[in-house]
Symmetry: C2
Subunit: 207 residues, 2 copies
């Protein structure tokens, strides 16, 4: 979106131990994503996004709004999606029994908050007329959870329950630069199917 | 620190239901702190801090560094303290049995990361020579947990295990503007003692 050239390295999440590159560049969390710029690493998705926005602040696309209050609101919602929604959605597909039911309830309540926010805003994206910081932070809801739900056989984020949020997911996935850069659906589906089956066989703890 | 005038409202955390002011100003999380500026609310501690830093950016004290990379590093550590350390420390004092033991182990591992960071940096504060964004984000470790540990009878953050971190806690608490604005230790102690005892009596879920 910023027009910044980059080289992309895949981390094979199915294999242990983790790559030496990941351990070197993100020794604290040992998690992707990591951005390496001028040889130095930045970790944590939202921290990376803000860094990109600040370093390449001369590009036509700016992710965070300019006004301090609008910036604070964007950070609030990005954090809400990242800290609250994504973990609850993940648990609703991965846990079993009562834990799954509780996570399902919790995720529904959280998504209702986002549904209400889209209704209040009456805009195409959380960022307004185009994709911004909040929409990118919400990519797990915008794309990934659809695939994960299907693998797990969970019906949570559906157009009947969340019409505006599902409309947003559709717009997000079809936004040209997003569409060109998301991993193909079949590839994601196969990845999660293999991962979920592996877990079922080995009883290893959830990620 | 910024020299901004403000009016402080206490939220009585022992009483339910929560105040109508809190429910109005932070309907999503229903949690403190909330900053109300020009009649409009901002919620979430770290979001509030960045907002204050951006709105009053003409004051002598600036909380976040100016360089984008230094800003990203500060955001990384603030998030680490807020999302990882504080919840694990809290659980290590509040849960019982094996859950407490696990939280204790986890909290030790996290605090070791902070201890190593202070050692590497060889500076007085996480922000460098003076208190910055990361130090303020770490106030739960810098002040609160000492009191909570004592109430719970837990010995986790001690000078034997974490000499540099404890030195930082001491410097943090004695930094003039911080010292003047922290709630008195006896008041905090009484608050947590009452809260912990109330929980023991009623078996209400932990906050």
């Amino acid at each position: 979106m910023k027009g910044v050239e980059y080289e992309y390295f895949d981390e094979d999440l199915m294999n242990r131990p983790k790559s030496s590159l990941l351990l070197e560049y993100n020794p604290v969390h040992k998690k992707i994503p990591v951005l390496v710029h001028n040889g130095k690493p930045i970790a944590e998705s939202l921290v990376i996004l803000e860094y990109i926005d600040e370093i390449w602040n001369d590009r036509p696309v700016i992710l965070l709004p300019q006004d301090p209050r609008d910036r604070a609101i964007a950070r609030f919602w990005a954090k809400f999606m990242d800290d609250k929604c994504a973990p609850a959605l993940w648990r609703s597909c991965r846990r079993e029994g009562i834990e799954r039911e509780n996570a399902f309830e919790e995720a529904c309540a959280l998504l209702n908050v986002l549904e209400a926010e889209l209704k209040d805003k009456q805009k195409r994206f959380f960022g307004g007329d185009t994709i911004g910081f909040v929409d990118i932070a919400g990519n797990f809801i915008g794309y990934w959870i659809g695939v994960i739900q299907e693998v797990a056989g969970v019906r949570l984020l559906t157009p009947e329950k969340f019409p505006l949020l599902c409309k947003w997911c559709c717009e997000f996935q079809n936004f040209p630069i997003i569409k060109e850069n998301l991993p193909p659906r079949e590839q994601l589906f196969a990845f999660f199917k293999a991962r979920f089956e592996r877990k079922r066989k080995t009883f290893s703890p959830a990620a």
